[in-house]
Structure formats: structure tokens, C-alpha cells
């Protein structure tokens, strides 16, 4: 195999290596490895493709197109308007480079496989609806791409294990969009909890926004400019209506388990980061939820679930009508509460505390969540929100949802990743996909 930046099947691997390899002598760590710091030359930027460029996705497109290390080369969305708008914004940003002939324009596709067929896409940012995350991720990693994927990681538990395995077997970099991990307040709260500064950890309380109901809506013709078949993908077929394809899919169980998952993952992820015993052995899960009695919104809008680890730590997970927004670690000597608005603690002196060298220090993400991802593409190290953590956090929300739906106490075993002695509950863990999609 000779040194090539581009291979015949097309994936450019320029991204993480500044300059060409000059040293050919065997048994030498070449100077080129691990890349150089600072601004990468234009032709050494990481080529980024964006799958899903609605609200959240266009934010990512903005971030990656204004980062000097990355260059957005293609976007994909089944909505023509959305992808064309994203393409336009990207091209406006690179206007100078287009004039100089160093940027050839941004590709725009309805089908993500067309985006992945390009040979200049090194990394992919995925902000499609949740029921697509797993397929988009697995297709990206098996064609050699690194992935930044929005939360929740997957719709089902099975998809989660498929994503974890695919990322690992292809040795790709995967960052989940749980960006709270890149914020020092969240890290610090977890470090306080993990290092015994709160005493023995007793309880973790998580509150996130509840969902909302949707009216009954009749089917309507698919609007021009939407590839509905591509939008629907692996989900069970149901006709188009004017409500479901933008935003409201969050509240429809075929596409997302609701904000118990989508929002839940953010703070549940912090809970497990600070209280690893929650994802260590087994959990007893019991809870209730409010699912709208009518309308096409089929995900829960309010819930109250207790997940109890055998060591006695209880994770109480509710919509924010009950627990306040955020994650609160409560020990027998104090508590710390963290959310995006800030961090509070009792006693307040906890907040001034600094860790000792032999305390457990958590991963420090630099340059924000995107920056950490880009750095890891170059170093080939795991980012701050790696795939296993994303899977565990997502699974915590999925099993919470299942417990409220079946209305009985369940026990989850992290070793087998199955409910103990409950065949019925285990059948919620996977949903067969519409052909040709599979994982």
C-alpha cells in the first residue's frame, strides 16, 4: 500500500495529518503523526458533511463552517428548502474561497448515501430525527467517517448497541451531542460527586422539560420538495401530514420516545457521569408517566421514574414540573445542583473547592464540544462524550420510558443489557426496520 491521501473508493484521510509523511524508515514515529497545532492550511481542513440541516443541524453547519480546521463540503436533507438554504449559507461563508477557486461549492443531497459517496467528506455531523441516528452513524463509520451525532443517540436499545459496536469495530471517532460534558460546571459537579465531597451519594435528581400533545391531524399530500420516503426511512409507514416532519416528530413514538429521551439524555448523562454506580451492575426501575389520551402525540409529556442501584443510589428522573431543570447530586454531607443556568451547592463552599491530584479528574474538553471533536479526529483519541457513554445515557432514558409504559417494576442488568426475567419488557428493546434498512 503506498501513501495516498485519497483512495480509489474515495475517502480522503487528510484530516488528522498535517503535511505528508516524509520519513519512510521503519520503526520510527514520524514527526507528522498527531498533526500540528494551530490553524490548518486550507487543503488540510477536515471535510465535513452534514446530515439533517433543520434547526439544530444548521447550527452545526454554522459552527463547522466557521471553524478554521474544518470545511463543510456537503449537506443532506430530504427537505429541498432546508438543504438548499444550508448550501447557500455555506457558500456565502466561503465566498472568498470560491472566488479564489479553492472551494468548489457545497453539495446538497436528499439521500445521505450520495453524500457519503463523496471522497472529500472526512467527518459527518448528524442532526436528523432520532429514528435515523443509528443508520446515519453506522453508514458513516463503515465508510470510514468520524461522526458527531446529535442526542439522543438512538431510538431503541438495539440501535444503541449496533452503533457502539460499529464505531468500535471501525475504529472511528464518535462524539455524541451531549455538549454539557464540555462545560466546566457540569464536569465539576460530577467530580464533586465522584470524589466523595458530598459524602456518600444517596440520590440523584434529574429534571428536564416534559413533552407536549399534538392534535389529531388528517393525512395530506406530500408537499413538493420533500422526499417523504427518505424522511420516513426505517420507521413504519404512515401517510404524510402537515404536522409531523418538522419538530413535532419529537413527540411521536414512531420517531422518538419524546423529551424523556431527547432532553432527558442531557442531564441523565451528567447523572451517570457523576454517579457511575448507576450504570455499573443492575437497576430497579419503577415509574409513571402521562401519555396524551388523544392526538398524534404519542410520547409521554410528564413522568416520574426511580432508578435504584443495588448500592442504594436512587436516580429520580422527572419532567421539570417536578424536579427542577438540571441534575442534582445529593450526598449525606451536601448537594450540588447543575444546569445550563449555573451551579449551586450546599454548603456553598463546595463550589470553591479544588481537586487534589489523586482525586479522580474527569476528561477536560477544550475548545467546546465541536473543538474537542475536531481535536480527537486528529489525535484519534476518544472525545469527551464517547459512544459508550452516549449509549448508556440513552438507554437510561429508554428503560425509564419502558417502565412507565408497562406499568410494572423492572430490573435492568447492565451486564446482559436485558431486563431480568421479563420477556415482555425486553420486546420493547428493538423495533424491526422497514426494508431495505437494517442494522
Amino acid at each position: 500500500m503506498t501513501s495516498r491521501l485519497k483512495t480509489s473508493t474515495g475517502v480522503s484521510r487528510r484530516g488528522f495529518l498535517a503535511g505528508a509523511a516524509a520519513l519512510a524508515a521503519p520503526y520510527v514515529v514520524p514527526a507528522s503523526a498527531l498533526g500540528a497545532n494551530g490553524r490548518a492550511p486550507a487543503n488540510d481542513r477536515i471535510g465535513v458533511g452534514a446530515i439533517g440541516v433543520g434547526g439544530r443541524g444548521s447550527g452545526h453547519v454554522g459552527a463547522f463552517s466557521s471553524n478554521s480546521q474544518t470545511q463543510v463540503v456537503a449537506v443532506c436533507d430530504p427537505f429541498e428548502k432546508k438543504r438548499e438554504a444550508a448550501k447557500k449559507r455555506v457558500e456565502a461563508r466561503y465566498a472568498a474561497e470560491i472566488d479564489a477557486g479553492t472551494y468548489k461549492g457545497c453539495g446538497a443531497y436528499a439521500d445521505f448515501r450520495d453524500l457519503l459517496a463523496r471522497d472529500d467528506v472526512d467527518a459527518v455531523v448528524i442532526a436528523s430525527p432520532e429514528f435515523w441516528h443509528a443508520l446515519h452513524t453506522v453508514w458513516s463509520v463503515k465508510t470510514g467517517r468520524d461522526v458527531y451525532c446529535e442526542k439522543a443517540m438512538t431510538l431503541t436499545h438495539y440501535e444503541g448497541t449496533a452503533v457502539v459496536q460499529a464505531v468500535r469495530r471501525h475504529g472511528r471517532i464518535f462524539q455524541l451531542g451531549t455538549q454539557q460534558r464540555s462545560s466546566s460546571n457540569f464536569r465539576f459537579a460530577c467530580e464533586l460527586a465522584r470524589n466523595g465531597y458530598l459524602g456518600t451519594l444517596k440520590r440523584v435528581q434529574v429534571g428536564v422539560p416534559g413533552g407536549r400533545g399534538l392534535a389529531n391531524v388528517p393525512p395530506s399530500p406530500v408537499p413538493p420538495g420533500l422526499d417523504y420516503e427518505m424522511w420516513l426511512g426505517p420507521a413504519p409507514y404512515s401517510p404524510y401530514n402537515n404536522v409531523k416532519c418538522s419538530y413535532n416528530w419529537y413527540f411521536m413514538y414512531d420517531y422518538c420516545i419524546g423529551w424523556i429521551g431527547s432532553w432527558g439524555v442531557h442531564h441523565i448523562d451528567i447523572a451517570q457521569w457523576g454517579a457511575p454506580s448507576l450504570v455499573d451492575s443492575t437497576l430497579d426501575i419503577e415509574g409513571t408517566a402521562n401519555i396524551p389520551a388523544d392526538g398524534i402525540g404519542t410520547a409521554s409529556t410528564a413522568w416520574d421514574v426511580n432508578l435504584t442501584a443495588p448500592q442504594g443510589v436512587v436516580l429520580n428522573f422527572t419532567h421539570n414540573g417536578k424536579n427542577p431543570q438540571g441534575c442534582r447530586f445529593i450526598g449525606d454531607k451536601g448537594w450540588v445542583h447543575v444546569n445550563r443556568g449555573g451551579i449551586k451547592a450546599d454548603p456553598p463552599s463546595l463550589l470553591k473547592l479544588r481537586l487534589k491530584p489523586d482525586d479522580e479528574h474527569l476528561y477536560v474538553s477544550r475548545g467546546g464540544h465541536h473543538g474537542n471533536f475536531i481535536e480527537c479526529i486528529r489525535t484519534r483519541r476518544d472525545p469527551v462524550a464517547p459512544v459508550e457513554a452516549g449509549h448508556r445515557a440513552t438507554v437510561l432514558t429508554i428503560i425509564s420510558d419502558i417502565a412507565t409504559r408497562v406499568g410494572r417494576k423492572l430490573t435492568w442488568d447492565w451486564k446482559t443489557e436485558r431486563f431480568v426475567d421479563d420477556d415482555g419488557a425486553n420486546r420493547f428493546l428493538r423495533r424491526p426496520m422497514r426494508s431495505p434498512w437494517t442494522l
Binding site: M1, A33, K142, R169, P292, P432
Partner: protein
Amino acid sequence: MKPLLQLTLAVALLGLAAARAAEPPDDAKALDDALAVLKTYEHGQPRKTLTFLESAVAHATKDAASRRRVADRMVALLADAKTTHTAKVFICKQLLLVASEAHVPAVAKLLDDPKTAEMGRRTLEGIPGDASLQALRTALARLKGAQRIGAINSLGIRRDAASVPPLATLLRGSDQAAAAAAAEALGKIGTTAAATALAATEPPKALLAAWNDAELRCAANLADAGNAAAAAALYQRVWTSRRPVWCRLAGLSGLARVDAAKATPLVLQALGDEDPAVQAAALRLTEEVPGAEMTRSLLARLAGLDAPGQVRLLGVLAERGDRSAAAPVAKLLDGKDEQVRVAALNALATLGDASMVPRLAAIAAGQGGAVQAAARNTLGALSATGTDERIISAAAAGEPSVRVELIRALEARRCAAATPLLLKAAADPDDGIRAAAFSALAATGNAAAYKPLIGLLLAAKAPADARGAERALIAVGTRIASLDPRVDPLLAALKTAPAPPRPALLRALGSCGGPKALDAVRAQIASDDKPSQDAAVRVLAGWSDLAAAPDLLTLARTSKSTVHRVLALRGYLRLAGETTDRAQRLRMLESVRQIATTVEARKMLLASLADVADPAALDVAAAFLDDQPVHAEAALAMLGVGKTLLGSDRKAVQKAMKTLLEKSKDKTVVKQAEALLAEALKPPRPRGAGNVPAYDKKRSDEMKADVAKRAPKGYTVAAYLNCGPDSVAGAKGKPTLKLIEGGAYSWSGSDVRYATIFFTTSQVLFEATGLNPRKTYQLGFSWWDCDHDTRVQSVWASAGRGRGTKLLGPTKLPSGPKNQKAEEKVVPLPRQLTVTGSVRLMFRNEATPNVVVSEVWLLESDAESEVKITMPEPRPKGGTPVVVLTGIEYPGHPWRQTAPALADLLVKDPRLDVEILEDATLAQAAKLRNYKVCVLNYMNWKKPDPPAEALATFQKFVADGGGLVMVHFACGAFQKWPEFVKIAGRVWNPKLRGHDPRGTFTVNFTDIPHPTTQGMKPFETTDELYTCLDGTTPIQILATATSKVDKKLYPMVFVLTYGKGRVFHCVLGHDLRAFEADGMRELYRRGTAWAAGLPPVAPAR
């Protein structure tokens, strides 16, 4: 949801509440009833029954018997030819959770029909056991195309080892999509046979990614099954293949996972690969592959590398964390290259131990730059046991610069055990050592350091020492849990202390808080010593609780120093803003208002108000609006407080902004106030059913009994809904009320009766069914404009689709903001609407922001009428939809009469379904696409033309093929819109003579042959003869009339096309008199049919 609750819900939604209330719960019955509803289900219908079934199925997963019971029933429905496809899709989703082997034959039947094959295959995939596998295997042989791919995928997911031979055949077949799917499936199955099949076939280039993924997955599965050797062989095959690098590398790392020994030399070799991608991946693997062999091999290469190579290798060694590398790494500290030294220091943070302390401290003290920073960092980070003790002993004596570094390290390491050493160091003759010691004490000092630090503070000579001691004292104080041990030593010191350290002691007291400390601080306000007095005021202004409030108020009023008055007032207002007791806050704000006697004080008060999130703050600010010197500040304060209150008290914001708009002339303020007011006026946002209390039979029955007390004589309450919680009431065969359209919401803080509502932006719709045709009915309801005072609503009833009959015209709702209570109303329902047994009841929005209903009930007469009402013959369904668009006209044109007249003449053509849409502003223009023809009986005479988007929608409707019929003054509908003349052909030109005086004239037909007017005879009519139509758009004139005034001929009817749309333009139809001419009615009927693309005359039935 609890089973009992479910059942209640199910019964209620099936309309059986009254019939079954006394009987014990019956799960099976509820399930069967729900399935009966499901059977005819289509998308868009209420989903309640489905929600119930989803919940029932989820609960039934608890054991095999329950699963079986539910699945049996659902499978039976699946086999029923009368079950809708939508229902079958739903059933299949549910069967995934409950079906067992027994149901496989029924599900497998779905594979026979292409419409259901796909969902059948998915359902089989989800049914555990061999029966479903057998069905899938059979399907694999039989199915083609996408369905076969589905079967391959299912067998892969199920890891069906028995399918390896047929899949291996597909692997070699010509169908590439099937081959790729088969490869992936074999990877999932992951047996040695699957591995053999994959290895036996060379992947086509296009399928490389699928193949590679399959082989890697197969290898992982083999490894999981304990067959490491087979896995390693497969991984090695991938690594040595001629595939692209990104494919191969995964093989190498897989190999490293299953066989480190075999992987080590390969990884080391890959480090020297020409391809940078291989190098980078290999480098990462060197970190992952465990074992001393790898460490030794890497160290052996360390000395021979150039500097950048060494830097990278040091990073690898640090990542590996193998401490046996510490000594060789430390050797590199002697080198010259700065980057190598930094990298070595960084690596030692992980690899090093206590023995490195002296060396690191010397480097940290020795030179600046990156090396010093790295050495300091490593000293702080060394995690081996014994490191703290080593640093403490080293810091006790020696070269001052080295001791400073060691003390810094103790601070970085939060080493509490260092307190005695640090106290000693804080009295050291060396300036640097003292400063470092104070800083470290602040960070780490324990309670034992507290009193000594007071001593150090009193003894401090240099200002830097005093500052350092004060900082450390306060910091250490926060680590002491109880108050007295913190306060008492300070008070003792204050008694005897000379003036200079007194301010510092006061600040330390301030950090403690509590009554004792407060007394001491208060006493110093009268101090002769200026610095002490100043410190006391500042400490008081920052006091943590309300105890200091009276002092601050006094100071704010009486202090001679302006600065102190300002500080005190700010402190006081801060405390007012922080207090959670509202009454207290009100009192405090009020007292500030009284003392704000100067302009300056009032400005300060107003500037501080913006942070106080209380309506009282708005009142305080509003009181200053008339005070010209501070008017601007008052306005700003109101805007600031208003913003903070938006989420909690919209009413207060509304009131305040209205006041502000009255009193302010400043453009910026007005603009912001208007924006805030608009925000505060926004309707409640639908938030699902979360905040609406659940249905409560007892509560509803009580309310029903209450409205029954006021029922008109001879009437009883047949059904009652407390909107929001209840959406269905009634019993089978009896009058039933049901919500069709409307979301539930609850205004917080009010009685559930009126505060829970159904609402939408346009109309809330109910259906009353089970009505007795011989009885008469009245509709009762209550409504309330709880959060606004702008709602206007009307009430309508109809026997079928369509606009229906008005029961109550636009009516203003009682306003909550004006303290009016909810209002009950009762209106009669015309019997011709109720004789069919069902009627739709509509509450329509006639203003802003949306339409709301608090309660609805149905009153039924006790007596039965003898009079038989004959119903008009039902119209055949599925006619061409036509809408008469009206709602605004020049006052001389009675649209409320002419629109129904138009509808009446049009429905004489049985092919047309006609509805009337009143839409003065074209706000509902989007609805046009529901119709084939728009009959425009509309003239926007006074207001500006509708918004551009509405006009664009209207234009698109015609251009895309919608028919347009222009009626009389519609030719003047949108006078400012340039496109209008192209659509209408000719438009009203106000500069020309308008029309002949109303009178009788003859309408003649031109020679232009046109289906619309074919065979029609001239007719006489009494109307306005329009003489001012203008435009150059090509048209076909079909009918004319001669003016009595100027004897000229004017067009009365003409047609044209616009885009794909047909336009029939007729200027006849001034009033009902004009509608009396048969010819005129015939013209409109034919013209509308033509515009709809139909033959103008309906064929005889």
C-alpha cells in the same frame, strides 16, 4: 396508568359510562369494544381508542397468558377483510410486543399480499421462536426485490445459523443489493460457516464497505463466542487485504484486541508505514495494546528518534501509564530541546513518583517559559503515594525560590496537612515565601489556622501581608461550620486592635454574618476612624440578610456622605429584591419611595428597581412617570421589571405597559412597551394535557347537577362536559356530547370549572349524537376570557359539513382582566338540525387571540313533538367543492344576503358542494386549496388590501388550476394589487363613471360560442349596469348590456384563463333583487360549473 384508570378511560370514550358505571370492571369487554372501534380506524380520526389499546398492550406484556389473550384478539382482527389497512398497520406494531409462535401462521399470511408483505415480514422478525424463523426462511426463497432484502435483514438480525447456505448463494448472485444485505447478515450470524462463506467470495468493488463491515462483525462475533483464533484470522485477512486503508486499519485494531502478542510487531511495523493514516492509527494502537513487551519496544526506540518523534512517543508512553518507563523518560530532562523536556515533564505527571520531587522543584524554580509551567504542573499533579509528605519536608528549608515552588505545589495539591508548615512560612523573612504561604493557606488551611491567621493579620507590617492574611482568614473561616468559633476571635481582636487592621476585621465579620457580627459592625459606623467607618458601611451594604435593612435605610436617609447614602440605598434595594416574602418586599419598596427626596436618590431607586421581579416594583416605577426629571429612568425601570415578570405575571405587565404607553412619548420606550405588551397578550401556549386535571366523574356530576338547577322549564341536562378534563359524555343510544376539535388547557390559579378549557385558533368543535328526532334541544355553555379582554366568539350548529346555522352572533366574552366572571348561556337548537339524530356544534373565533369554551351541555325537552319535520334529501357526497368567499363588501352590497343566495342557486347543480367562508382579511386564504372553485363575493372597500402572502396564496390558487367566479363588485376587490387585473381580466376603475343608476335592462349574449352561454336567451334584470371596468388583459366577452346613460355597450359577462385556472367574471348581482332573474341565476350556475372544469349544464338525472 393504573389498570382501573385505563378502564374508566376506555369506558368513557366508548360512550358507555352511564350504562356500565355500576358493574365491576371488565377488561375483556373494554378491549373488545376498543378493537371494534379500531377496526374502522383511519388516519386523522381521534386516536383515543388507539392510545387505550397501546396502553393495554404494554401492560399485557407482563406474562405469556396476558400476551396471548391480547394477541389472539388482534390477530383475529388482522384476518378480517373488513379491517382497515391503517388498523392492520397498528395491529402489526402491537403484535411485535405480544405475538407468540401461535400467531405466526396468521401473520405469515400477510406475506401473500404485496400491500401487507413488508409489515408482515417485520412482525415475524419480532416474534420469538423457531416458527417465525421458519416462515422467514420460506419467505426468503419466495420473495423478490425489496421484500427479499427485508427477509435477509430479518434473518441476519435473528442470527439464524440455518440461513447461512441460502445467504451464501445470494452472496455470489447477480443482485448486488441482495448480495450486500446477505454479506451483512452473514456478519451478524457470525458463525465459522458464515466466516467461511464471506472469505470464499471476493467482494465487488461497490460493496467493499458492506463486505468489510460484515467481516469485521463476523470476527467480533467469533471472538465473543470464544473463538479468538478464527477471529484473529479474519482480522488479519482484513488487515492484509488490498482494500483501502480505512478498511484495513480496523482489522489491525481488531487483531490487537483479540491477540496482543500477534498484533505488537504488526503495530510497531505500521508505525513506519508510508501512509500517514496508518502511522496515526498505529500510534493510537501503541497506546492500547497492553504488555511490557510493547513498553520495552517503544523505549528502545526513544533515544534514536528526532525531537518531534520523541515528543510523540512520550505522549504515547504517558497514555500507556506503565510506570516502568519513568526512569528512561526522566533522562530526557537533561536534554536541550525544550519541547522534548516539556513532553517528558508532562509524561512524568503520570509516570513519576515522590522521588522526582526535588528534581522537579529545581526545574520549576530554575527557569521560566514552558518548561517551568510544565514542571509546576507535574509537581501539582504527581499522584503516587507519599508525594505530599515529600513536598512538605522539602519545603521546610533550603533555597527560597525552590521553597516557593514547593509551597505553590502544596496549594495546587490542596494539601490540608501542610497547614503547620504554611503558618510557619507565613512568618518567614522572605517576601516571596510569605506571599506563597498566605495564598496556600487561603486554598487549603484548616480550622487550626484561623486564630494564628488573626494574629498574623494584626502583626502584618507590609500591606501585601495584611491583604494576604485577610484573604486567608476569610477563606479559612468558610471552612468552619459553626458561627461562634469564627466570630468570637474576631470580636476579641477588634476590642484591642489598633486602627489599621480594623477594616480587615470588619470585612471578616461581614463574611460571617449573624447578629453578633452585625452589632460589632453597626458600632463602627459611628467610628471616628474614617477607614473603619467606611469599611463598616460597605460591609453593611453587602450584608447577607434582612437584619441589616433598618440600618441601611437609616444610613440612606441620614448619612452625611453621598457615597455612603448611595451604598446604603443600593444595599437596601438588593435586600428588598432578594427577599421571598412579598409583603416585606412591598413595605421595603414603599419606604424607599418615601425617602427618595432628591432627584439623585430617585434615579438611584429607579435604577435598582429593574432587578426586582415584583409587580409592586412596577407600581413604584409608575408612580414616578409624572416626575419629569426622572421620567426616563422610571420608564426604563418599568421595561426592565416588565421583562422579568413576563413569565410569571402577564397581567401586571399588560397593565404597566398600557400605563407606560399612555404616559411616555419617547419613541424607543413606546416601541419597547408595545413589544412587551404584545408579548404579554399572547395566548396561552398549548402544553399538552399535562397541566389539565384528569377526568373526575364525581366532580363532573356535581357540575352537571349544578347547571341542571337552572335548566329551562321542561328541559333536563342530557349530557355535560367540563371542557378540558372531559371530552366525551353520554351513553349509547342516548344523547352524547363529544369533542371533535380542540386542545385542552388550564389557566392556573382558577376554579377547574371555568379555568379548564378547550381551545383552538379558529374553532372548537363538538358533536352531539343520539338525539331523539321527536324532542327539541337547547345548547348550554359557559365561556370566559380569563387572560385577555379581547375575545369575541360566535356559536354555530350544522347537521353535516359546512358552515351551518348561526346560534349566537359575535359576542364579547366576560373579561378576566376586568374581574368579570365566566358567563353561562343557553341557546335553542333548530329542530331541523337535530332531527337527523346528530348535530355539530361550533364555537368560532371572531377576534383575537383564540377561541375558548369552559363548559358545554345539552338540554333535552321532556315533551315529544307531534310535528314531523321532513329533511331535505341528502345530497350525494363527493361533489365538486365550491366556496363562496365573502365577509366584507361596500355597505350598499348586503353580502350577508347575497352570499347565501349564491350558495342556494349553486347547490341546485347536484354536482356542486357549496360552502360559505367569511374571511374579511383573507386570513384563511390557505383554505382555498380545499376547493375547486372560489366564488368571490367580496370587496375590500375600506381597509388596505390583505397581506401580500394572502394575495399570493389567492393568486397561486387560480394559477394552479382553481376556478374563480367574480361576482359584481368583486371587480374592485383588491385595487392596490397590480396582479389583480391579470386574474380578473377587467377591474373597477374609480376614475371612470361607475354605473347606470339601478334599473331594469336587458342582458344580451354575444356571438362568441362558449359552452357556458350556449343556448341561453337574452333576459331582463334589475341591477346596476357597470360602466367603468378597465384593463387590457385578453378576455372573451360572452354577454353585454347597453347603458341607458351613454347608449354604449358594456360587458356583463366575460371569461379568461389565468395560469391553469378558469375565470368567470360577471358584474351582475347588486342585491337580492338582482338575484330574482332566472337568467342571472342560470349564468352563475353555469359559469361556476365551467370554472370547475365541468360541463356547464348538469346532465339530467
